[in-house]
């Protein structure tokens, strides 16, 4: 069967028109969520933030594999080592990425020198610490290898494995330096992100449920129930959150297992942040109760529960999710602050706040500025959540 050129052309044009029409139709038939997603995609900063957050969560998920060392691995000779420089050519020859072995050594001193130094320290009222220096052995390059075997862990909490993305066979590689116990900061940041990035999520989830349930009870029943709940919310709002968090976490008994500690901290964080959400839900319930479409559904004989779940909740779900996203940054900062004070996550578990404990006094920052690296990740995450929330708020606004 043959077709003339003109026929083909006409057919193509028709197909194009059909496609355009479908696209347009899709736009008009798109659900609220699809529209939101489309608008969010147009928001430059929100899009970048989404990519960054996606990357951070990806790293946290595969943290055990990506981190060269485990939380408990330490090296007594590597205390406070600066970031290990990665070289590529040795003796003028390119041999791929490698590092030199470095370690902290005590400065050799005569007995007289040592006693003089001890005396001087005593006069200044300081505790004597023997001076150290970093010795680098630049004769022997240690190549960085991919997929090396190291400490074992459970991949995604399921599969036993000892494979790490990269590592060295001899000595250590500290991309971000080492802490005062000779542990790799890079690994600890990655493994710490597993706590720092999931606590706000779990906390948000809990406060979401709390806010939704308490808010709808308050809005649906009204009367004295509503009154009591509103007073409690007002009280919780009138108390500064951080001191309250501190008081609550002081109640966590020392020495409980890390998983329980994690859960308790999450609950404490969400115990205070549900109030805003409950207020919103209650307000929406009260205003939606009188909306015509709710009345219409009632007249049509739809049950209360179905009205709430099918007609009312979707009406303000987007609003809730935006609110939740905007609440995440303060939870991250809350967890970081508490761990930093030693009232939150405690070793052996770690989080970014715990890592920042090393940066507590000025002299240690001056001596080991790399201990501030976790700060960068905290700020990055908080900024990304802020921008994402901002973008979502704009996207959820039907009038924009």
């Amino acid at each position: 069967m043959t077709m003339s050129e003109a026929d083909k052309k006409a057919l193509r044009a028709q197909k194009r028109a059909e496609k355009a029409r479908r696209k347009e139709e899709k736009y008009y038939l798109a659900s609220q969520w699809q529209l939101m997603a489309r608008k969010l995609g147009k928001h430059q900063l929100a899009r970048i933030s989404l990519v960054i957050l996606g990357f951070l969560y990806f790293v946290a998920l595969f943290g055990n594999f990506l981190a060269p060392y485990s939380l408990t691995e330490y090296d007594a000779n590597s205390k406070d080592l600066p970031p290990t420089p990665v070289h590529f050519s040795h003796d003028g020859k390119f041999i791929g990425p490698f590092v030199y072995h470095a370690e902290r050594q005590t400065v050799k001193m005569s007995v007289a020198e040592k006693s003089a130094a001890q005396k001087a320290a005593k006069e200044r009222g300081e505790k004597y610490t023997p001076p150290t220096l970093i010795a680098t052995d630049d004769t022997e390059p240690i190549p960085i290898k991919w997929f090396v075997h190291g400490s074992s862990y459970k991949f995604l909490g399921l599969i036993e494995s000892d494979l790490h993305l990269f590592g060295v066979e001899k000595g250590k590689v500290f991309l971000f330096g080492a802490d005062s116990m000779g542990r790799d900061l890079f690994s600890r940041i990655i493994l710490g992100s597993q706590v720092s990035l999931t606590i706000p999520f779990a906390g948000t989830l809990i406060s979401f449920v709390l806010g939704l349930v308490i808010g709808s009870i308050s809005g649906y029943f009204g009367g004295w129930v509503d009154n009591v709940i509103q007073r409690v919310i007002e009280v919780l709002n009138s108390l500064p959150s951080l001191p309250l968090w501190m008081a609550l976490s002081a109640a966590i008994p020392a020495g409980i297992p890390p998983v329980q500690m994690y859960l308790l901290i999450t609950i404490i964080l969400s115990l205070i942040s549900w109030t805003g959400l409950a207020r919103v839900v209650r307000g929406k319930f009260m205003s939606l109760k009188n909306e015509d479409y709710v009345m219409a559904a009632k007249l049509a004989g739809v049950s209360d529960m179905k009205i709430i779940m099918k007609h009312m909740v979707p009406g303000f779900m987007s609003y809730l999710i935006v609110n939740l996203t905007l609440g995440i940054p303060s939870m991250i900062i809350g967890e970081t602050s508490m761990s930093f004070l030693g009232l939150g996550i405690q070793s052996p578990a770690t989080s970014w706040g715990v890592l920042l404990k090393e940066a507590q006094d000025v002299t240690s920052i001056a001596l080991h500025p790399w201990c501030l690296i976790p700060l960068f990740f905290v700020v990055l995450t908080v900024l990304a959540f802020n921008f994402l929330g901002d973008g979502m708020r704009d996207a959820a606004d039907p009038y924009k």
């Binding site: 108390l239 951080l242 001191p243 008081a247």
Partner: protein, 340 residues
């Protein structure tokens, strides 16, 4: 207006009572009490503890009673004798213990609040009036970053900065001379306010504590101002021949201040958050470190009182903002009057 204020004051009383109950409940949550941790400390040092003395101490402080009984006793003493209990750790009445740090905490909080509004509001207005200008972009970016950096990290960074630039570490609010004077009672806290070196030292804490709140004020002010600038009455005023400046300051600003003013208590609680942790990090002589120590030592009356004072101040802030709002916005004033 007078009736309106009275009504507001009356609604705050029950909130205060519920608040004290909530606080006391939280404070007594940790298992054990001050005596058990004290005894544990003594035993660790190998000292012998006299059981009968312990029992008498327990009875004296009412620690053997259920928590709500303890609460009623505590509340009763506060209401009847203005007695906030006894601080085990400092071995002194709670009120005289916090009296050494409370005034300065209030001073620092007020000055920070002033900083918050004096910086946040004008920049917010500027940003809105010059929307999408380079200045607006810069301030918006700064605002976001200011909100993203936790207070204590900001404190560390600033301290590190001053250490690098001046070579001396930042140490507390007072010079050693003032500190000694305050401790020995030869100097009163209000005398400190007259000293130039005190205000110089205050700059860093205020910037540290106030920045995140200021950025929040800036952003809400900008958004609200933009909202108001797009309203019809602006067009109408413009058509009357009113100048842009007058439109911004007479019409928009007053309306745009509304959420900023109603956020006053939020700002105050923000400041308490910031000052608590910053004071711990920077070793400032404020209530923050005292609360921290009290919580760690289970010094419940001291911790409870500090929380209660903070909550009380925030409630006063809410009250003030309600009154300010009624003054700013005639609609609120009228609805308040009508409700009676």
């Amino acid at each position: 207006m007078g009736n309106y204020i009275l009504k507001r004051v009356l609604t705050f009383l029950p909130i205060l009572l519920i608040m004290s109950l909530v606080i006391f409940f939280i404070i007594q949550l940790p298992p054990g009490d001050y005596l058990t941790s004290y005894v544990a400390g003594l035993k660790a040092e190998g000292q012998i503890v006299d059981e009968s003395e312990l029992a008498s101490l327990k009875e004296r402080y009412g620690l053997d009673q259920p928590w709500f009984m303890q609460y009623f006793k505590w509340m009763g003493n506060i209401l009847t004798r203005f007695d906030f209990g006894y601080s085990f750790k400092y071995e002194a009445p709670v009120w005289s213990t916090i009296a050494s740090v409370l005034p300065m905490t209030i001073v620092v909080s007020l000055v920070t609040m002033l900083f918050n509004y004096l910086v946040g509001i004008p920049i917010g207005i500027y940003s809105a009036v010059h929307q999408y200008s380079i200045g607006d972009y810069c301030f918006t970016l700064l605002g976001f970053i200011g909100m993203a950096v936790p207070n204590f990290l900001f404190a560390i960074l600033l301290m590190y900065g001053t250490y690098i630039w001046t070579g001396t570490a930042f140490i507390g609010l007072y010079t050693s001379e003032v500190l000694v004077g305050l401790q020995q009672g030869t100097m009163q806290w209000w005398e400190v306010l007259g000293r130039g070196d005190f205000w110089g030292r205050m700059a860093i804490p205020i910037i540290v504590i106030g920045t995140s709140g200021t950025c929040g004020t800036l952003r809400s002010m900008r958004a609200q101002m933009l909202d108001e600038l797009g309203r019809n009455y602006v067009l109408c005023a413009r058509a009357k021949g009113v100048s842009e400046k007058r439109i911004v300051y007479k019409y928009c600003l007053r309306a745009a201040l509304n959420p900023t003013v109603s956020g006053l208590s939020g700002v105050l609680s923000h400041i308490f958050n910031g000052s608590t942790i910053s004071a711990i990090v920077m070793n400032l002589q404020l209530v923050g470190p005292m609360l921290y120590e009290a919580l760690k030592a289970q010094d419940m009356y001291l911790a409870g009182t500090i929380l209660l004072v903070m909550g009380f101040l925030i409630i006063i802030g809410t009250l003030l903002s309600d009154i300010l709002l009624a003054w700013l916005d005639p609609r609120i004033r009228f609805s308040g009057r009508r409700a009676e």
